[in-house]
């Protein structure tokens, strides 16, 4: 660090992309998140693993405010999720402001959730055109580029149910990318796929990671987590049990529960 100006420049971006401090979430009496602390930095790929019911997906959904947290602090890019801080008060954000923040975060779901009544092209341009009010021509050009990138340029006019699961998921990724998100959330993106279709989806995610996209991936693909992840977080029972370097966590876990889980899935 010899150039002081570059240090100052990185200082300005010093706050992590996602920062969770003691995040709590409960459905009625059922406590799903019991104090999560986590940091995700710009360009980092964080893989969340853990048994089902451990709160991974819930935590992911809190990040773009699909779920509201009950306690603690959660911020994306330095700004609180769902609230605006002013002096000593937290003001709940209006629907419109929540939407604006969500538009900056891409999300990919386990069940794809493409819009079945719209063609692949319309699925991808819906966000830019309806939310960002971008004009049709550039949005369609961008959609073509993205389809090229996920290897589905020939499916531009197809409807989602004419595609296989793996193709649908790649369109779903393209749809999320069309919004130029600064953060991508993946909620078990390959869990609903036939084994032979998983590879193509992981390839697309791998190339995204190489391009420097900040990603949080809830996954059961231990191999992917080891290869692509910068950090692996193991969650169980609503708490973070262990986190760190993928190779260390996945091959030499310190905690018993991590060991037991990995013994089952590997």
């Amino acid at each position: 660090m010899t150039d002081p100006s570059s240090v100052a420049a990185t200082r300005g971006l010093e706050h992590p992309m996602v920062e969770a401090r003691n995040v709590h979430k409960a459905y009625g009496r059922l406590e799903v998140l019991k104090g999560i602390d986590m940091q995700v930095h710009r360009g980092e790929v964080l893989c969340l693993i853990g048994p089902s019911g451990s709160g991974k997906s819930t935590f992911l959904r809190c990040i773009n405010h699909l779920e509201k947290i009950d306690g603690g602090q959660l911020s994306v890019d330095g700004e609180l999720v769902g609230y605006r801080q002013q002096g000593n008060r937290l003001y709940e954000l209006k629907d419109k402001e929540v939407c604006r923040k969500r538009a900056e975060i891409g999300m990919v779901f386990q069940r794809f959730n493409l819009f079945p009544h719209m063609s692949v092209l319309d699925n991808i341009t819906s966000g830019p055109m309806w939310v960002k009010k971008a004009s049709g021509g550039p949005s369609r050009d961008r959609a073509h580029q993205l389809l090229e990138r996920v290897g589905l340029i020939d499916k531009v006019d197809a409807y989602p149910n004419q595609l296989s699961g793996g193709q649908q998921q790649r369109v779903a990724i393209a749809r999320a990318l069309a919004m130029d998100p600064k953060l991508m959330l993946f909620d078990e993106p390959t869990s609903a796929l036939d084994p032979e279709l998983v590879g193509d989806v992981l390839d697309v995610m791998r190339s995204l990671a190489h391009d420097g996209m900040t990603m949080i991936v809830v996954t059961h693909e231990i191999g992917f987590a080891r290869e692509v992840g910068d950090t692996v977080v193991f969650m169980d029972g609503g708490v973070v049990v262990e986190q760190g370097d993928p190779v260390q966590v996945l091959t030499d876990p310190r905690h018993e529960r991590t060991q037991a889980f990995l013994a089952k899935v590997l």
Binding site: N64, L66, D95, K96, C99, R100, K101, R102, A103, E104, I105, G106, M107, F109, R111, N113, L114, F115, P116, H117, M118, S126, G127, W130, V131, Y159, P160, N161, Q162, L163, S164, G166, Q167, A172, R175, A176, M179, E196, L197, D200
Partner: protein
């Protein structure tokens, strides 16, 4: 024949019809004798129906005439009062259905709202309008309103009035009919729309939300278009039902198709032929609506079924081309069943 037992010989060695080779045998289809009996009975009944409708005669007051007096039916089918009645019937149907669908969407969204006041008031509306006969409601709007309120005013609640109107001039039988039918239809449509909305997977709303779409946009462009598949068939039903329910306006002195034919027959006593006139028109418009429903359903099936069902015209053209129904293609031939990834 030196082949060892169990080893198949060359195909030529097996003669046609020889035991053991089913591919060369004649297939005898299953016989269905009862189908023939039932078909025969139906044929006889149809012949009787055609005969009594078209060819049978009867003596009335010393004059021998066709039983159904089709000549009289034909005379009044395009009679001016009948045509005016048709216009009223169609106007009421369109107004009541359009308003009913709009009220229905608003009520359905209100009922699904987490706000208890909104969902409660929608519930109360539906409870009231489904709970009273539409005939009672029509009479109420026509008679009751002008009895309860001689003047209707538009203005600040509990404050000054801006516009004041005389109820009896405002609430004509047409206005009362349109009002009553619309409000009543809204209650039924709201349940249909609600069923459609809750049939759409929650993942759709979540995906829309994750793209930053606000709720109203999500409802309009994501949820409702998909809900349409559930909403259309019962709405078609409601429209056909409404076409005929409009005849109730005759009790509040509205002159619709039915009332028009009734007033003709009350002067010329040709009751049955004029009932036929009304029925033929109702049947005609129901048929038009049924055809319309088919195409609307087909439109909203995009993305829901992999191949759209052929229209009757397409089916006719296809059958003319092939003389008979094309054989079912093996699944592997159809590209979308086995998509390559």
């Amino acid at each position: 024949m030196t082949d060892p037992p169990g080893h198949p010989g060359p195909p030529e060695s097996v003669g046609a019809g020889a035991p053991g080779d089913p591919s060369t045998m004649t297939i005898v289809p299953v016989r269905h004798p009862w189908r023939w009996v039932v078909s025969l009975i139906i044929l006889v009944l149809v012949a009787m129906l055609i005969n009594t409708l078209l060819f049978s005669h009867v003596e009335r007051g010393g004059i021998r005439e066709g039983r159904f007096q089709w000549a009289v039916v034909g005379h009044y089918l395009f009679d001016a009062p009948v045509l005016r009645g048709i216009v009223v019937t169609l106007e009421l149907t369109v107004i009541a259905m359009v308003a009913g669908v709009l009220i229905g969407i608003i009520l359905a969204v209100m009922r699904l709202s987490p706000n208890r006041l909104l969902s409660g008031s929608a519930w109360l509306y539906i409870w009231f309008f489904r709970g009273t006969p539409v005939l009672v409601q029509l009479t109420f709007w026509y008679v009751g309103i002008s009895y309860l309120y001689t003047h209707l005013t538009l203005g600040v609640p509990f404050g000054p009035a801006l516009i004041t109107l005389n109820s009896t001039t405002l609430i004509t039988s047409f206005v009362a009919g349109a009002l009553g039918l619309s409000l009543n239809e809204g209650a039924y449509m709201s349940e249909i729309v609600r069923a459609g909305i809750i049939s759409v997977d929650e993942g759709q709303t979540e995906a829309a939300a994750s793209l930053g779409m606000p709720k109203g946009l999500t409802l309009r462009r994501i949820v409702l278009p998909q809900a349409m598949r559930i909403i259309i068939p019962p709405t078609g039903n409601e429209t056909i039902s409404m076409l005929k329910t409009t005849s109730l306006v005759s009790v509040i002195s509205g002159v619709d198709l039915f009332q028009a034919t009734q007033s003709i027959s009350s002067t010329n006593y040709q009751v049955v032929p004029l009932l036929m006139v009304a029925s033929l028109w109702y049947l005609f418009f129901t048929s038009v609506l049924t055809i319309g429903q088919f195409y609307v359903e087909r439109y909203y099936a995009r993305g829901a079924s992999r191949a759209l069902p052929p229209t009757p015209f397409q089916r006719l053209r296809q059958s003319l081309r092939h003389q008979r129904v094309a054989p079912v293609r093996p699944i592997a031939e159809i590209p979308w069943v086995a998509p390559h990834d």
